[in-house]
């Protein structure tokens, strides 16, 4: 056990002290704070252009500008209208010269016709707001002409009440689902990146020790199996630490952002009603996925003699993870699909897909438990198998770049 801890600590420490690890951590933490403060940052930029929101209007009839302004104000729009003294041609020239972003032309007596002239179509948000306001204006004018009563008008515009009701017991109400979706999406993303990033680190570590030939000294001192699992545990702990730093940074970023994000954009993503179990499952499936893929990565890493060959041999594993992510991300919109259910029991897909299901559906407890049991069994089998490959693989040098070498390695390991 003593040497297990020595390797564990060494793996943890050397990786934690690398520049790439520190920079990655810092960049991600910084981007969290940046993202959380993005609304206020954008606002502060907009603040300077506040007066620029003034829009020149060419109003031929001269009767719409004021009414439109009133309508815009009612819509909480920032647009300020200003009747232009210039002709349309002159304004066009100004827009073309870049002196003005856009202007509006309103024509017509009976029906309102308007033209929004801008240098590019990117000002469409403003255009949409104007269109909305003009539409209301038009409706009000027609209603007035038809001499409709206030109540009749209200009836005309009464929205339809439609509520979706799901009969399946496992499905959550639409409201709950859309709330959970954002959170689950982000957590799947995190698990996905983690099961690629950390196992890759392990494969590189193992390949590095092999290519620098220090491996022979290591495995003459400590059993290869112990070496492998100590390494996996060490880098796994590093992963947990990094995730915890990210989680803390994310929390602090939201807290410090000033603007009340929990009620703003983030409420749509389900951050307002954080479910403890979702996070619990996220950590659980992250760990299971990590161990599963880490053992596989150590196995593959032990087969190569040069670090350059690692990526090539890791490809099949990466494909597995990518397929898992496809299933998981496509399943977000339809978590009850049959293929999602099946995939959630396949060990290599389960970390992402079963997490998706427990996150989005109210499935009975035995389902995730069964999936977890299958994963644990697979990790056990893979660990046993991986240890045999590893034992032979670390002694094997040459141009090993294909999975066929697994057989050679097991043979060498068995002869051991």
């Amino acid at each position: 056990m003593y040497s297990f801890w020595i390797i564990f600590k060494q793996a943890f420490k050397t990786k934690a002290m690398t520049k790439s690890f520190m920079i990655t951590t810092l960049v991600v933490v910084a981007s969290f704070f940046l993202l959380a403060n993005l609304p206020s940052i954008i606002e502060s930029f907009d603040g300077d252009d506040g007066s620029q929101q003034t829009l020149q209007v060419v109003d031929e009839t001269g009767q719409y500008t004021e009414a439109l302004q009133a309508q815009l104000d009612q819509q909480d729009s920032a647009i300020q209208l200003e009747a232009s003294a210039l002709s349309e041609e002159q304004l066009r020239a100004d827009v073309e010269a870049g002196e003005m972003d856009a202007f509006l032309v309103i024509e017509g007596d009976d029906g309102i016709t308007a033209r929004y002239v801008a240098e590019s179509a990117t000002e469409s948000a403003q255009a949409a707001e104007l269109e909305n306001a003009l539409q209301s204006l038009q409706t009000a004018r027609v209603a007035e002409q038809l001499e409709l009563e206030e109540t009749e008008l209200a009836q005309l515009f009464a929205p339809v009440e439609m509520e979706r009701e799901a009969l399946a017991e496992s499905s959550k109400s639409q409201e709950e689902l859309s709330q959970a979706r954002g959170l689950v999406y982000i957590l799947i993303m995190v698990i996905y990146i983690a099961v690629i990033y950390y196992p890759n680190m392990i494969a590189m570590e193992v390949a590095n020790e092999k290519s620098s030939r220090v491996m022979e000294i290591l495995i003459s001192s400590v059993s290869p199996v112990k070496h492998m699992f100590a390494k996996i545990a060490g880098i796994g702990s590093l992963g947990i630490l990094q995730m915890m730093i990210f989680a803390l940074a994310g929390y602090l970023a939201i807290q410090s952002s000033g603007s009340d994000l929990t009620e703003g954009v983030f409420s749509v993503m389900g951050f307002s009603e954080v479910k403890f179990s979702t996070f619990f499952y996220a950590i659980l499936f992250f760990l299971l996925g990590y161990f599963l893929y880490a053992v596989l990565a150590a196995l593959l890493g032990s087969l190569v003699s040069r670090t350059e060959d690692v990526q090539q041999l890791m490809l099949p594993m990466m494909i597995l993870i990518i397929i898992a992510s496809f299933i998981a991300f496509s399943g977000i919109s339809m978590p009850e699909a049959g293929y999602v259910t099946i995939a959630s029991y396949i060990p290599f897909f389960a970390p992402l897909v079963m997490f998706l299901r427990v996150g989005l559906l109210d499935i009975p407890l035995w389902e995730p438990l069964l999936s977890i049991a299958i994963m644990l069994m697979t990790i056990g089998i893979l660990g046993w198998f991986g240890a045999r490959v590893y034992r032979g693989g670390v002694l094997m040098y040459g141009s090993s770049q294909s999975l066929k070498d697994i057989r050679r390695a097991i043979k060498l390991g068995n002869e051991k």
Partner: protein, 300 residues
């Protein structure tokens, strides 16, 4: 007491027999030298002794048992393919590798310092291994193999690639280490190193043990001697005498290989008939000669 005992060990890799039915014992506190051409099976034998490979047949015992990882603190190994962490600092690396052999941290730190000083490279303690010259890396590698004070030290080609000054330094360190009671097994390309350092030796050829025993014994049982005669006269004709197996002419005279000591006296008498003899010597065969005779080709 026999500490390391190889008993009828055979190792096959598929159809290839790397080591073929080797039996030998290394007594406690002895230095044993392995000679053999590349691919003769030295490294495979060492790996079997270390427990990295299991013999296809036979067994390798240390103090009566198979070596396991429980013996890790008692064993030191210098692999033929040198390997250290290129980016780790020398001191950290030595301490880490010693601790893997379950040495106490404080002792390892002190030991590493002492050894670096002994090899006159204390200033490398905080340098990365990749910044060191090959010779200095090898010193670090040797320290890594014996820092934890193993009872059995296995060195695969410890002197290859070193300059003569460093060879002497390492030789002395290894001899001192043996005097402290360690059993040492090493392989070398250089016959003179084996001759100088070892009590016992073996020669491996294509996986077979062709010579084995103490150096004196090996030379004696070889049963052949060299007669060196320096004379002003041309003594080439003497090579035709019965009992002379081989004649190597030299600038003033030559060396005769003989199977019987009596032939030597006969050679001297005949040489004196031809002219005055400046030098006459009866010499033991060198290991080089024994090697060539047994293996049938020169040692690379």
């Amino acid at each position: 007491m026999m500490t390391l005992s190889i008993r009828n060990a055979t190792k096959q890799f598929g159809d290839f027999t790397a080591v073929d039915d080797i039996s030998l014992d290394v007594a406690e506190g002895q230095m044993h030298g392995f000679l053999g051409a590349n691919g003769a099976g030295k490294t495979t034998t060492f790996r079997m002794a270390l427990g990295l490979l299991t013999p296809t047949q036979g067994e390798v015992l240390w103090q009566g048992r198979r070596i396991s990882y429980a013996d890790s603190p008692d064993i030191g190994y210098l692999p033929e393919e040198r390997g250290l962490y290129p980016k780790m600092k020398v001191q950290d690396q030595l301490v880490y590798l010693a601790r893997l052999r379950r040495m106490d941290k404080k002792q390892a730190e002190q030991g590493a310092k002492d050894w670096l000083e002994r090899f006159e490279v204390p200033h490398y303690a905080n340098k990365k291994v990749e910044e060191l010259s090959k010779g200095n890396q090898q010193k670090i590698q040797l320290i890594a193999s014996l820092l934890h004070n193993p009872k059995l030290l296995i060195l695969d080609e410890p002197f290859s690639g070193l300059d003569p000054v460093n060879v002497e330094m390492l030789k002395k360190a290894i001899l001192d280490f043996q005097r402290q009671g360690a059993t040492i097994v090493f392989s070398s390309h250089r016959m003179d190193h084996v001759e100088e350092l070892c009590d016992d030796m073996s020669i491996l050829d294509k996986g077979k043990l062709v010579v084995h025993g103490s150096i004196r014994e090996v030379k004696r049982t070889f049963g052949k001697q060299n007669v060196r005669i320096h004379s002003d006269a041309d003594i080439t004709a003497l090579s035709e005498l019965p009992g002379v197996e081989k004649f190597t002419p030299q600038r003033s005279g030559g060396v005769f290989r003989i199977a019987d000591e009596a032939v030597g006296q006969n050679l001297l008498a005949r040489a004196l008939e031809l002219g005055p003899v400046r030098q006459f010597a009866l010499e033991e065969p060198s290991l080089e000669e024994i090697f060539i005779e047994k293996v049938g080709r020169a040692h690379v």
